[in-house]
Amino acid sequence: MNGVILGPSRVGSKIEIVLDIEQAAIKRARLKLLNVRNFSEIFKGRYVVDAPFVASRICGFCQTAHQVAAAQAVETAFGVEIPEAAVLIRFLLKAVSHLSYHLFHFYQQALPDWIDIKSILAHKGSTGELFQLKERIRLLIESGESAPFSADFPVDDETIADPETVAGLLSHYYMALEVQSWLAQMGALLGGRFPHNQSIVLGGITAVPGPDALYQFKALLDKVSSFVKKVYASDVIALVTGPLLESGLRGDGVSYRNFLAGAGYSTSRNKGTFVSGFISNGKLENIARFTPEKINMVEGEGGKKKNVVYENLPVETGALARLLVLREKNLLKVLDGKGIGPGASARHLARTLEAVLLANKMYYWLDKLFEELSVPGCRVYSEFKIRGKREAEAIIETPSGLAVHRLALDNSRIKEYLLVTGPHWLLSSGSNGRHSVIEKALNGITVDAEKPEKMLKLLRIIHSFDLCACSSVG
């Protein structure tokens, strides 16, 4: 059967996947982006000072990283060093949206593929909060309005149906929504508002935060960090080594096994929290040096607009690539210890461990910021004049992967703007390849387009990738 079209929800941009199915398995998958937003066109002719504001709108989820990338590119081109306090505030703001992205990705986008909401009805308790949740969901199911969940969502033999596990996960689903509001408040404290921060400008940050804002930020960070470590991390580790283990052992979602990471959260003075490097062909111990010149845009099949490769290979960037290159010990311990392939489960696990790592790092940055701000006359902004013709570039890690912002400016105006985002790598297939990173991961999966439960495996793999709104920009 050829040309089965799937337009899955719970991804940040509109995509369509066209499947050719042969003998109950995917022979060829083609991922199409609907409605590409041409940002190069939008940027052209705009004022250079506005670049961060426009860049923020590339993606509602990776907004802060793109905002900082645009600012950093221009600052570097003019040799401007922004004050240390501004660097730290930018790191903290980026980390806020980074955590927001990872939590949303797991609880709201991926988890619903794995649970059957009806299972909670068999929850044994007769008092307490999980019981209240069960009663509430029972009423919702009876009235036919269990949104955003559906009582008739398909289930297969890997769906989590243990009532206690489902009750716990469902309650965490709703808690994760509350954590989103804490993160938004943290973004607002240092960024003016969230999403689309207002305080990030060329030259630094617009305001010296007061101690009250910093203490409020810290109080919220305590709550977020506790959720990340005690709930998010334990949920994901328990799932990946439990109900999702079969899927991990089968290597569901494994693609080309080429991983590329840049030095995230770094500046010329600050060593990055993440290190850069390149892993090819699944040789995880063998980390090659990352050379930006090896990033290439090639013509792909059918003249795809974005086909971005490294050493002419299709590569995967994002949390899994970052932590593999970092050789994060907890990730390697679980993957090696259990024999889980670098695919769908590994991506979820990597995001979680990265969230833990970032939450810890945020305390460090916040302490440094307190120190910086206690010095009289502390600055957050360096004024500079934008004059002449320049080429500017920033290579930066965003929650969804490695991004490149490259622009040419002529005095106050942007002449040209080239963008590569994390998901662009996943949509690229290399110079000779026929399949992009995501398409490759879908090939060979057993499906049946007539039976929704036989499509779950496919959905679970799609929802392990980073397909935020960054995908659909040109």
Partner: protein
Amino acid sequence: MLSGFKSFNRRQFLKLLAYLACILGIEQDGLDRLSRIFARVADKPRLIWLTGTGCGGCSLSLIGSQRADIVELLGRAVSLTWHPFLSQEANEERALKTVFEEATDFYLIVEGAVSKEDRKFSSQLSQLASRAQAVIAAGACASSGGILSAGNGSFAGISQSGIRSEPIRLSTCPLHPEHLLAVLSYLLYYGRFPELDNFGRPVFLFGSSVHESCPRRGSYEEGKFLKDYNSNEEAGYCLLLKGCRGFEARSDCAVRQWNDGLNWCIASNGGCQACSEANFLQRFEPFKREGSTQIRVSGKAAAAAAGAVAGATAALGAKRILKKHECSIERRS
């Protein structure tokens, strides 16, 4: 915190109702009816959320709101039948099948701009819009094309795409979550549309300029303008010289602020970019100025803003303000 649903007790619920009653102008005898709107379990009107083309920031803005909590508060008043980022159901057509089959009681919310090439979305939109109780354009892209209208002209707001009823526009970039809460509550409580301005925005939310209620208006009147972001002395000064567009923006941000009233653009010295106005990027750029000498005021708002500056300065006998900062007002049509 373990309740599963957000920690949302009776006290917080009442606080929110009082807050809503203030926005909607509901008096004490109406509070009971308002609380019943948010205490339903079944028979709730449906809410269908469609996304055109955008960054997803409006959804995230709503999801990150404590006051306009999509599950605990909005979820009590309406049933979120379809939201492309949240619905467990992965197949949009299946989710909307019943809605297409039986014209039911639903509100349509659209996020993102409409691509002129995307016929499928346009036809889906016009079919649903013709049956909806109300169509709400959530955010700048759905309202006027937003930042995407600055590209090659292939994107527009939803009303230019041939839908029958004019949408209610909540036009900030991103959507202000409390605006959506307020409008939905208005529709549910009064059972009619709120009064709309020329751009289709509810007057009770967008009726005055940001400048009018700006907490920094006092320093504007005194001619105190912020020049250096690092300065302690200038903290709280008017951001006019930094490019603030509060004169021209119509929204209640100064009163409502952002993220549950925690902060907002002007309090962070970021200034207002007039994101509530149609095509704000093209009309109001540049948003930032380095010790600029000109204040450019565009379009219809020119006269009003010019009047405001001239009026304020004249009232203070303060031509010196303009002179001191070498400001001049240039009209642009």
